[in-house]
């Protein structure tokens, strides 16, 4: 029978995930001759066999691929018989080719069950070795210098393999065949704590944590701060040193059993996935953690050990630990050992570190339901789809807070990890480094820059250094809804609903509650939420109580002005004014009346702030979105079928406008307890949203809806909106792999830039 020869190219996340050994095994099974190698970002196979075997081989290459691989495309071309390989199948060294086209850096993978078993097996040569890994697990993106992904181009370059490790590395039948970061106690990295090393170092850290101390720990994508999650004194001290007064801390638990002890989790698959993110789960009231771990919240952020070091630590302590990023609030996570010693060292009782360098900064990812709220370790930088292939590489520089950078190449977008608030000098440097690293790993020089319209974002200022003809300015909320559309492969015109805090509108005012008829190229604003002034601008954002006064004194007037309902019982307004104080309230009133530093905004995020303040849940915010988070938490457990608060739709200047004043009046006067009012408020916003969308649909005939913006991190609201719109026959999308918050802006910018460049 004639043996055919084929060249098979496999595109996707296929490097660093055990793909070549997988191909080797299949070839051996089916009697295929040839070879396999990594080339740029793809796997290239030369295969020779009879036609039926080759067909089966191609099918299995695609379908039975390793768990964490993601095959996007397989290209097959016939080769002449003269290209027939010698008998047998070999795995070749990678070749740094010259081919253009996107390449994937594999994300970091949580320690696999086989490696965990070895870690705790006294007979294994890697027993209790904190750097055990294999082709199915271990660090990837955080140690890569350049592609193709091979040990020499990672931070493991400095650790030559010992004979035993080398044998595993070169044996196609071994689980560690071409596992680039493999190591063992004889040849790999070493743990340290001051002068102590290995088990002594680990023991020292365990003792400090057990005694209620704080430890800085070198994790996978950066340093982390760790303490006993049941020790209130320790947790309070951690809040003090991190300068993080109230925002919830994530808790790492030893195993799934502990997850069930702390939370009501119907399923734990995300927790035990290879990405091992922090997952927000409804907490048990009897969870028994320190009160200040997640004050006022109905959920806990839980995650499982994702590195051998975490496994050893959690096994020794056998209790939940607070594990949070090693930085002070607003600064990027520390990755360099010298920085850790200098900046974290003085804050803690010891630093548990090691000598495997971290090349890229990856905070822990955060997942809520099906939605990724922070796309970082384990998820980034896996490529995302682009609806329109891009003409030349585009650098999308994102927004300002929850900052991310994206690089669009070909038909894919590489979304970098989340870095934080650009106003912080270290974060800004991290942004520049990320942009450079994305370009370097892709081997391209960006030809265009996509940026926000906001003139004050430091990302916009950065983009201004580019020549005008290479800059693409993108409206913030258009980017939000385009991100959702692109993630879900929406092709045609759609209705975009963007609810967030604040973004710069195309009319120079602040937006944040917008309904757009959109394509990737452009949009038309067809609906919005009623405006209110922000007394003192950012000051009103930091103080939700002042935002409530903004609505009280200056909400957009549709004849139902809030301040004029003074005859109604305004119990909650009275309480608010009492808390603020007459003097300050009077200054704010005059600021609003005279328009002094009180920009108006059509923002749903600010409406949530005002309601939280009126209900006495949050007068002053210590982190972005705190008031909204507390408002959602207050409604937790309330039925979502109760009557909604009042709301109204008006037509103004050609737009449909949700007037929140009747809603606010109900908040101020309802005699229900805050929890019930909070639930009824969510229902009102959901109903008003449906009404806005229906108007947009009537006008356009569209029935695809894309939701975007940070407000949709609110699960109660999102679930209600999705259900309502679904009931009304709409096809609804909301960001899942891409954060709906500003972490998704750069991706939306990239999608829009690609479409605009099409001409």
């Amino acid at each position: 029978m004639a043996r055919l020869v084929e060249r098979i190219e496999v595109h996707g996340t296929v490097q660093g995930v055990g793909f070549r050994p997988h191909v080797h095994r299949l070839a051996a099974e089916l009697g295929i001759d040839g070879d396999v190698r990594n080339e740029d970002g793809r796997v290239v196979i030369t295969a020779s066999g009879d036609s039926a075997d080759l067909r089966e081989f191609r099918r299995l290459v695609r379908e039975r691929s390793p768990a964490v691989a993601r095959v996007e495309r397989v290209e097959v071309s016939a080769l002449p018989p003269s290209a027939a390989p010698p008998p047998g199948f070999v795995v070749r060294e990678s070749r740094a080719g010259t081919a253009a086209g996107p390449r994937s850096v594999p994300p970091d993978l949580a320690t696999c069950p086989a490696c965990v078993a070895e870690l705790f097996d006294p007979a294994d040569r890697r027993y209790r070795y904190p750097f055990v890994n294999c082709t199915d697990c271990g660090p990837r993106a955080t140690i890569v210098d350049a592609l193709p992904y091979d040990r020499v181009r990672t931070s493991m370059r400095g650790f030559p393999l010992c004979a035993a490790c080398a044998a595993e590395y070169h044996d196609p039948s071994d689980r560690r065949f071409h596992a680039e970061p493999i190591a063992c106690p004889d040849c790999g990295p070493v743990l340290s704590w001051g002068a102590l090393t290995g088990e002594d170092a680990l023991h020292a850290a365990v003792t400090v944590i057990a005694d209620g101390g704080l430890v800085a720990l070198k994790g996978i994508g950066g340093y982390q701060l760790v303490c006993d999650a049941a020790d209130e004194t320790a947790v309070l001290r951690l809040r003090e040193v991190k300068r993080r007064p109230r925002k919830a801390f994530a808790v790492m638990v030893p195993d799934v059993d502990h997850v069930h002890r702390l939370s009501f989790a119907d399923e734990t698959s995300a927790l035990s996935s290879a990405a091992a993110p922090i997952v927000l789960l409804p907490r048990r009231p009897d969870a028994g953690l320190a009160a200040s771990v997640a004050p006022g919240l109905a959920e806990l952020g839980l995650f499982l050990p994702h590195s051998p070091l975490h496994h050893l630590l959690l096994a020794a302590l056998a209790r939940p630990l607070v594990v949070t990023s090693g930085n002070r609030s607003g600064e990027p996570i520390v990755i360099a050992d010298v920085d850790a010693l200098a900046t974290l060292g003085p804050l803690v009782d010891g630093v548990l570190t090691h000598d495997r360098p971290i090349r890229s900064r990856y905070d822990d990812s955060v997942v809520r339901g099906r939605a990724v709220l922070r796309r970082a370790r384990g998820l980034a930088p896996e490529p995302l789809p682009l609806p329109t292939p891009v003409r030349g590489p585009v650098l999308a520089v994102g927004a300002q807070l929850k900052h991310t950078t994206a690089l669009a190449v070909g038909d894919r977008v590489f979304l970098g990890p989340h870095t934080g608030d650009l106003a912080d000098a270290a974060t800004f440097t991290a942004f520049e480094e990320t942009a450079a690293a994305l370009a370097r790993t892709q081997g391209v020089a960006p030809e265009y820059v996509a940026h926000d319209l906001h003139p004050g974002y430091l990302s916009t200022r950065h983009a201004r250094h580019w020549p005008a003809e290479r800059r693409i300015a993108v409206q913030h909320h258009h980017a939000h809804v385009a991100a959702t559309a692109a993630e879900h492969g929406v092709r045609d015109r759609f209705i975009g609903v963007a609810y967030d805090g604040l973004g710069y509108g195309d009319d120079g005012t602040l937006w944040g509650g917008e309904v757009l008829l959109a394509t990737y190229r452009g949009y038309r604003r067809v609906g919005r939420v009623g405006t209110a002034p922000l007394p003192g601008g950012e000051s009103a954002v930091r103080h939700p109580a002042r935002m409530a006064l903004g609505y009280l004194y200056g909400a957009e007037d549709f004849g139902t002005h809030l301040d004029r309902c003074s005859d109604a019982p305004r119990a909650r307004v009275g309480e608010l004014l009492e808390r603020i104080g007459a003097r300050e309230a009077e200054v704010v009133r005059r600021m609003v009346a005279r328009g002094v530093h009180s920009p108006v905004a059509s923002s749903v995020g600010r409406l949530f702030d005002a309601v939280a303040a009126l209900l006495g849940l949050c007068d002053d915010a210590t982190y972005e979105g705190e008031a909204a988070v507390l408002l959602e938490a207050a409604a937790h457990g309330q039925p979502d079928t109760g009557p909604a608060l009042a709301w109204r739709l008006h037509r103004r200047d050609g737009l449909w406008v949700y007037d929140p004043v009747p809603t606010l009046r109900d908040v101020a006067t309802a005699t229900d307890p805050p929890a019930v009012v909070a639930a009824r408020f969510h229902a009102a916003v959901a109903q008003a949203t449906r009404a806005l969308v229906e108007q947009a649909a009537d006008a356009s005939g569209l029935h695809t809806v894309c939701l975007g913006g940070g407000v949709f991190q609110n699960r109660r609201l999102t679930d209600a909106v999705v259900r309502d719109l679904d009931d009304a026959g709409f096809e609804v999308h909301v960001g899942q792999r891409v954060p709906v918050n500003d972490g998704g802006i750069s991706y939306g910018q990239a999608a829009i830039a690609a479409a605009r460049l099409e001409g």
Binding site: G456, E586, M591
Partner: protein, 326 residues
Amino acid sequence: LGHGSGGRLMAELIDDVIARELGTHGPLEDAALLDGTDLVVSTDGFVVTPRFFPGGDIGSLAVHGTVNDLAMRGARPIALTLAFVVEEGLPIEELRQVTRSAAKAAQDAGVPIVTGDTKVVGRGAADGLYVTTTGIGVRLPRARPSAAAGVVGDVVLLSGPIGAHGTAILSAREDLGFEAEIVSDSRPLHRLVAAMVEAGGRDVHVLRDPTRGGLASALNELAEASRVAVEVVEDDVPVPPAVAAACELLGLDPFHVANEGCLVAFVAPDSAPAVLAAMRARPEGAQARVVGRVLDGPAGRVTARTTIGSTRIVDMLIGEQLPRIC
């Protein structure tokens, strides 16, 4: 045109329109040195509302503003001109008061007003009263300050607290009802500069009075012109408590608020202690202090080390202060 508050938009307007049409280039200075001489010239228009405010009025402000612009080039002011554009209907008594105040300010500064001009325009053609002053000065013998002369290693000195003038004007204009009255810091700085030059000579590299756009804009312009980075320590920049409280309520960053009576200087480290001592010996520099350093960083980058030890980027004001929080 949203360029009223100074800062970045204003800088772009001057760059893109004014400087381009005039064909001038080089760093933006407060005043110009006349080629081949030691003569320094500066001119400035004043349009403040309200015209009378705690600590001064448009007349004294017009004198101090121009005297200070001359001083920032190391010049001793020798003469001023004074021109009015008056809107019909302005009470004569008000014009008299403003003129009297300008005369007194000039006398206190020891600078004669040597000539002037008055124009009356119809109602609505101007907002009450505009004042323009031009000043002539002679450069002090050892003074060579320039916006472009900052070098890495220089010490950044600030002559006094910031934020008073802008908040005083705003609260007077809008009648916001603050508890404590805030008084403008408007005053002449040429004697302070003379003392600094006496002590530091050519080591006084850069002088700038952080008027519109505040300290942030001044530092950004200087860092840009000198092609250096500047880092200040936030806690070392004095902000009077009443000003800080007003700024918090108004959502203003004190670094962006206008001043009329303080200056920032880049001085070579060897001379900095002597210059600082000379400043402190004068009443207008009694609260002078070191607030930062000139660094070898990205040109034009200004940062502030915060109370909690992180470092924030201090950008120029973009038009009105627009929230960047999403």
